[in-house]
Assembly symmetry: C2
Homo-oligomer: 264 residues x 2
């Protein structure tokens, strides 16, 4: 059993939790909880499991099933507390390989519905957007380089497992991806305060790209210049804007509503 915080594996986990650069260099991240690790196992991405002493003592059936198949270590509760990013931990976390997708496979997806994020900064928003994108049946989430790190512990948690199921990619230049989608014959709409059409008047039935901008500044001018048209969500009252994850949800579900019953 690991019972010292100076243990190399413990230090490594904490580094994976806290340092985006280290996560990137290793192509690894940390996922917590039995559900997330079971998803990681299905995906073939689970590398190693760490279980707290008290979680081990509970002998939960689904946990035993998991650690019988993967390398694991038991960790004292106190040290586990340092490794975990959550306040109320289940006492199980794991090192997981970062999923990776090719731009080709993403652009070829037969649903032809792409969500493009022009630099969403809030980790919770990003996770919620991934989760909603899965529910709304999007092909993939394409992120500009300034978007938050998808493997941030808070983001991973708020995807509720969508991180293992929803294709995604970071694009060096999001305008190039927009032009590719347009060259393939699809419209790309971007949200803007002064958008020229109401979001539900855009036609998503043949497939489309939807660009969501940064929480504070919206879509960059150079990105706005590439899109087919700008859309807006009408707002009552004196509100200046909607939350970015809410805007994304409203538009993705309007697209899903229009496309329901259409055979793709």
């Amino acid at each position: 059993m690991i019972s010292s915080s100076t243990n190399q594996q413990v230090k490594d986990i904490i580094k994976l939790q806290k340092q985006p650069k280290y996560r990137r260099s290793q192509s690894l991240f940390v996922a917590e909880g039995l559900k997330m690790l079971t998803e990681a196992a299905w995906k073939g991405s689970l590398v190693k499991i760490y279980i707290s002493e008290s979680a081990m003592q509970k002998k939960q059936g689904s946990l035993i099933k998991l650690y019988n198949k993967y390398p694991y270590e038991t960790v004292s509760d106190k040290v586990f507390g340092h490794m975990s990013d959550t306040v109320t931990t289940q006492g199980i976390l794991g090192i997981v390989k970062q999923p990776s997708y090719s731009m080709e496979s993403i652009l070829e997806d037969k649903r032809h519905m792409w969500l493009l994020l022009d630099d969403i900064r809030d980790p919770g928003n990003l996770g919620t957007i991934m989760r909603t994108a899965e529910g709304a049946g999007m092909s993939a989430v394409i992120m500009g380089r300034g978007t938050a790190d998808l493997f941030n512990p808070k983001t991973v948690r708020s995807t509720m497992g969508a991180i293992f199921r929803m294709p995604f990619i970071y694009a060096d230049d999001i305008t190039e991806v927009i032009m590719q989608i347009r060259n393939n014959g699809y419209n790309v709409y971007g949200t803007a305060m002064e958008g020229s059409i109401i979001y539900d008047k855009a036609d998503y039935t043949k497939g489309a790209g939807i660009v969501i901008g940064n929480e504070a500044n919206g879509i960059q001018d150079r990105v706005l210049e590439c899109i087919t048209g700008s859309i807006r969500i009408p707002m009552e009252g004196k509100l200046e804007s909607l939350n970015a994850a809410v805007s994304a949800a409203v538009i993705m579900y309007e697209a899903a509503r229009q496309r329901r019953g259409i055979i793709l």
Copy 2:
């Protein structure tokens, strides 16, 4: 200038930030930032302002305008840091009266669109829901007693000012409110995983109540028994549920879409 953390006013602010019971007993809360306090002033709810030494030195025009009209205190930056709930503070916060509305005025609102929360627990979700409810043009947000405290600093922040503009009320028994809305001639729909109709097939044009359930457990059985019908948001992939604020947004904006152009 206040420069000691043991100052009674400082202690009082911290108590208002941290203790829901104290907030309730005083019918006060703390709002931070110039925008929020300006809203509070418009609403006639601003009681007193506290400004950090360095914010004071900046002599920002809109800040001067505000503190010329209200009682204020200057506070050393260090002490202000203890009073503020945010990491990157603007250096201005205020004591504000809690807005309060009567059930009568809420039920009489001419838009006839009520959002009912059957115990939303996450402060961020609650604030985002208030913000979206304003944007979607709801009459009011009616909260079951188990719902998070709207005056929690995180919730206040995430309303983005809607807390001063969106009518709301805590109801002792949410089923009684549902029955009242139904007796007034409106349908009340509730979200459920196994909802019998897809949310966009419900008719919101004549007005309606929409019930959103708790993040983990959904709507309570006793509440489900009172509603007109249960609705569901279709989900692709293997997702178990959507985020509560996302579900609320998708349904409220579908109602707004159906009602657009209708003269109320």
